[in-house]
């Protein structure tokens, strides 16, 4: 029994891409929320080290700026730190008052670090009491699709987070992959042929731009 308890309290590793997102129920600035409340929407779950800190404040303003665009992509946003809900409320009110930016997404008050530990957001080498700058992109079926980690010192790139969601949704909708530095409207990668016959057909397909049998691109309809 004690072993089971110890196992439950031990920080678990990072969830893996392609695995179900760990369940949570947490107190937030928008009431008690569960992971399953977001089912059917994509979700960006991100952590920040602490409220009322400068880099985190710039990040919250950045997340607030991309939130309308994310919502158009059927994507919700939820923040997290090891702070109380009262601290979160005071901070988001301060950001609105001092910076003129309204924070409209919920923020988890993870004082017992349950969610942070379930998602591997505490990196002991940096801090045992603060969450690192983690970003989990969770799809509408609640599967982890991408993970980004930044250290405490460095603010995240909101444009990349937006680009990542657009890329993942494009991949799902079209059965393709996206090349380095892909942007919506750019050509996409056709997955490599799986047989010799498919490779031969691939090189003769005039709808594709093939440099070689394994390296074919195409323009998506409407792009």
């Amino acid at each position: 029994m004690q072993q089971e308890q110890a196992a439950m309290e031990k920080p678990v590793g990072l969830p893996r891409i392609g695995s179900p997102a760990p369940h949570f129920e947490a107190k937030t600035t928008h009431g008690t929320l569960r992971l399953e409340d977001f089912k059917g929407s994509w979700l960006i779950l991100f952590s920040h080290p602490a409220d009322f800190t400068p880099v985190c404040t710039t990040e919250f303003m950045g997340f607030a700026e991309i939130y309308p665009e994310l919502q158009k992509l059927n994507t919700q946003l939820i923040g997290l730190s090891v702070d109380s809900v009262y601290s979160h409320i005071a901070w988001v009110r301060n950001i609105e008052e001092k910076m003129g930016v309204k924070i409209q997404f919920p923020v988890i008050a993870d004082l017992d670090m349950k969610v942070a530990k379930a998602y591997g957001m505490i990196h002991e080498g940096e801090s045992s009491t603060e969450t690192s700058r983690a970003v989990f992109v969770i799809d509408d079926k609640q599967v982890v699709r991408a993970i980004i980690y930044y250290p405490l010192s460095t603010g995240r790139n909101m444009d990349e987070i937006l680009r990542l969601v657009k890329a993942l949704q494009t991949v799902d909708a079209n059965g393709v992959a996206t090349p380095a530095n892909w942007r919506p409207g750019n050509k996409v990668i056709v997955p490599p042929a799986q047989t010799q016959e498919m490779a031969e057909e691939r090189t003769q397909d005039s709808s594709l731009e093939c440099t070689d049998w394994y390296f074919c691109k195409k323009t998506l309809a409407g792009a």
Binding site: G31, T32, F38
Partner: protein, 73 residues
């Protein structure tokens, strides 16, 4: 969302939801009609079911007698 204030009164958003649920509907329909994000509506409905303000039948939510009385108070 939070449906009950510390003094026991219900919040404005809960009052709105109780009014909406005089006609039974799903969480998705309530979100569409209220203009609130679905995650907020699901959370709010769960809380209102727990406090007895709303009843759940299958996938449809409707205002309970208690909810109606509290909304009109």
């Amino acid at each position: 969302m939070g449906c009950v204030n510390s003094d026991g009164s219900i919040t404005n958003s809960a009052r709105l939801m109780l009014s909406l649920l005089s006609t039974p509907m799903t969480a998705e329909e309530a979100a569409a009609q209220s203009g609130q994000p679905l995650f907020k509506v699901r959370s709010s409905l769960r809380e209102m079911v727990e406090t007895g303000l709303v009843e759940l039948e299958g996938e449809h939510y409707r205002t309970s007698a208690l909810g109606k009385a509290r909304a009109e108070a």
